[in-house]
Symmetry: C2
Subunit: 119 residues, 2 copies
């Protein structure tokens, strides 16, 4: 168990240098957010749980596509499932993720709205 102790290093103004493991973990999450269909799915799930058919209808993507994206998200443990009768209900497993999705969309909004950089 690695202690949560701050860095023993003297170098400062570096909160804590992200090591390879952290970087890859973060990029693997970002990679999941880097597809329009998947991002749309995650946004929908961040609003409320839904089954596959609803996601298909709301995203406008094909069943195959949605299914495969959901498989990836499940495999990455970003979503969780529960079964209800004939339907498989998906939900976001981590509240943080929803915030990340929203922030990404906000950031995009600012860039689309024309604002050069803002702050």
């Amino acid at each position: 168990m690695t202690q949560a102790q701050p860095v023993p290093e003297p170098s400062l103004h570096h909160p804590n240098e992200p090591d390879t493991e952290r970087l890859e973990a973060a990029t693997s999450t970002f990679r999941m957010l880097a597809d329009p269909t998947r991002l749309h799915i995650l946004w929908l799930l961040s609003q409320e749980p839904a089954d596959v058919s609803q996601l298909v209808a709301r995203t406008g993507a094909s069943r195959t596509s949605v299914s495969q994206h959901l498989a990836k998200l499940r495999f990455s443990a970003l979503v969780s499932t529960r079964k209800e009768h004939r339907h498989v209900i998906y939900s976001i497993s981590d509240g943080h993720l929803g915030r990340l999705v929203q922030e990404g969309l906000n950031h995009a909004d600012h860039r689309v709205s024309g604002e050069p950089t803002h702050e």
Copy 2:
């Protein structure tokens, strides 16, 4: 110009459905964050501006790789440059981006630390 007024819509618990344009803008940003080297570069730049050689040294990547990643970031307008003598100094152009990077790393941290989902 679009008013900052809240949604005039009756539909609720949907802050505002992201359209294709927004989704693609957001994913294009996320795609930039979806590479370890690039994420490392952006994290370094979120701490302080740096020139290419410093970034090469700190990331451990090849000059070619760093140069090409910087080209993409420049093209995506996520970083800006200024020249100083022989050196090209890169900096993050948007403060929001730094936050996004940091949140991604935090999220990754939680998943690496073993915490199942947290919250």
